[in-house]
């Protein structure tokens, strides 16, 4: 089953396809510039020792962003029903 979640809600090791980036202004544009665009696949690699920020792999490189920024990114994840 495919579920749309916020990037900040993903667990380590999850990956999914970005469906949209909400929000407005500079932060959103910056995310586009860094390759966080709808259609791109993200993989949540790890979180920092204190739980935030997070590190993701996308477009073949490592990107770090805070959970507040990750909340703006909607991701479609394949979820196995328990």
């Amino acid at each position: 089953m495919k579920v749309v979640k916020k990037l900040s809600e993903l667990k380590i090791g999850d990956s999914g396809v970005i469906t949209s980036v909400v929000g407005d202004g500079r932060v959103r544009h910056r995310m586009f510039d860094m390759g966080v665009t709808p259609g791109a696949t993200v993989y949540l690699r790890k979180t920092a020792p204190l739980g935030d920020p997070i590190e993701v792999t996308l477009r073949n490189y490592e990107l770090t962003l805070r959970k507040t920024e990750a909340e703006l990114v909607m991701v479609e994840v394949e979820e196995v029903e328990a």
Partner: protein, 766 residues
Amino acid sequence: MKRFALAGNPNSGKTTLFNALTGATEYVGNWPGVTVERKIGTYKKLSEPVEIVDLPGIYSLSPYTPEEVIARNFIIDETPDAVINIVDATNLERNLYLTTQILEMKVPVVIALNVYDEVIKNGDEIDTDQLSKELGVPVVKISAIKETGLKELMETALAESLKGREARTIIDVKKINELIESLEDEFEVKGVSNPLFHAVKLAENDEIEVENHKDLIEIVEKAKDKLDDKTFGNDIEAIIADSRYKFISNKCSVCYKKSSNVEVTAGDHFDQRLTKSDKIDKVLTNKWAGIPIFLAILFVIFHVTFSANFLFFGKFIGFSEEAADATLGIFFTPDGINSPGVMLQTALIAFTDWLTELLHQLFEVMGAGSFISGLIVDGIFAGLFSILSFLPQILLLFLFFAILEDSGYMARVAFILDRIFRKFGLSGRAFMPMIMGFGCSVPAMINTRTLADDKERTATIRVIPFFSCGAKLPILVGVAGGIVTLLGWNGADGIVFGIYVFGMCMAIVAALLMRNTSMRGEVPPFIMELPAYHKPSFKALMIHLWDKTKHFVKKAFTVIIASTILIWLLSHLSFKFQYLEDEEITSSMLAYVGRGLLWLFTPLGFGYQANLDGWGFVFVVGAVSGLIAKENVITTFSTLATAINAVNSSIVIDEALGEEVAPVVAMIQATGIHVSGLLAYIAFNLLTIPCFAAVATAKAELPKGQIWKTVLFWLGFSYVTAAAVYVCFEWWWTSFIVVALIVGCVFAIHYYNKRHPLDAPKVKEA
């Protein structure tokens, strides 16, 4: 002379390429109006020499950071003859995003495909002919580190610069292209150069374009109303970004041929192989070990640079005073073996001392008056040498931090610590410059260049001096020693340590204060690439160090010399402009000014209440002389103690107490200052205007016009804090009033900020 600009992503090997192309010809300046470094060099291996301008490392041409604005303005306004766009071959997708934007400018472009050797090492291949066809510009394979393919790159760039190139966009969405075309026509009518670039950026709702061309927004709005994209609706920004990435995935990424013959498909190509970089990262950013490892690295760096007891050998081996006093003193002291940093510093000091002695003798032989020899030797050279004596340690510190930066570890430090720093309104990146402040404020302030947000940078630069630097240590040791002697207990170490902690706490307080008042603003966003780890190049490190040395020495010879001379003259001339010997400093202009200012320092505990027999001005004079270099505070005390001893023989300088403590004890006896006043004196010196070298650096690094506000901030903050320290320690019950005042201020600021919210960015729900 033809001029080529070098553009590319951070961490794409741009600096290495620049160094390889220009060798030792580069010169460093600043871009107009901002403090981002502007490097220019010459490439001489073509038929004609070519000037190369190193643009800042950027991801895009949208105006997110000052760097991006600089790069874009340079290409538009200064029309270079060609742009060499360096692209990391191992990460085509993100690197080419910038390329698609550069192509929209009317300028010849050559792609320098860097680290192509890595691609081959993985057994992969890139079809450069096809890539070049898709992009419409030549592509040259190079290795910046191994310096291969550079000649071909430059020849191609030269040929391209003669041909010229028309702007072109790779955006391929019918309705958007129509909009861009109509905007382009409008810009052409207006006579704006690079109409296509401006048209695309305006369509992207770019801040700068919207500001400059308000009359054209209507066209964009109209087009927006007609748009109804399947996935993005009327979100032009998203459509354009998507179109760029689609072009890259469909047309360019396919040029990358994987060894297994599996073609890379759009968007979805995770390499699940664990690279070397991943393995390193597993350890260095580990959930449990990450922070301890970081602290250990930090400790080692400071130990190697500043410790006088290297590897703690002093514990096991005893060194005699006599042996240390001989030439071997460079290598060890009775405390232990010197660290490499201290060895270099001691050697340099030994050399400058020898030079000073030589100059003294030279002037004596020449029969120059003591005024001239005093001014030149004790005024100019002593000041200069005391600042130069920090150069070895500053450079060593720089070297270590450059290694951390170049290897990619610094980005991880920001990643690890961001959570903590956000609480103070700063980002994780602010940590490194602050911690460098414990060594020396000068490299620390220069290091704030990695911070993207101007307000965050300003706030960070202002609190850096609160991290007590090496030169402030004699003040701490001396005054703390004086306090324990006065009280008759043992525990100077504890006081010194306490002061370090106090400085850090005050830095946090000041950062919070600024971020809630004058430097208000959102916590800057934290969206950052974590580059793969790699071995720093020796050549790049050396060039980096050479730059810093030049920068520092230049400053030492201009601003610092001028201010040193001024203070020396004030302390060695009477109001009748008669020359005074060192011991006669009590009749100098500085002493008179100090006496005149006593009332100002009475609230801090070292004014009139410490004015026994009229000696109260010594503390003021000490603090002022500390502006040249903070060690001068104690040096001045020594000089003054001699002068006091000459007048009042009951005050003796007890050498047994040690170089730093003895003059302070003499001061205490002479002035009758209280412990509370001494503590306030430390607080004042710790937090007030740093030495001239640091002030000059702050001036260069801060946005224009901020230096005066910053100096006032240092004065005001140190004054208020020192006054609070004094009253609390003098009359314990006043601490309740101080706490009440602080709480009152916090509530007032909080209430004010609630009433006057910032223009919060509009949040649009999708």
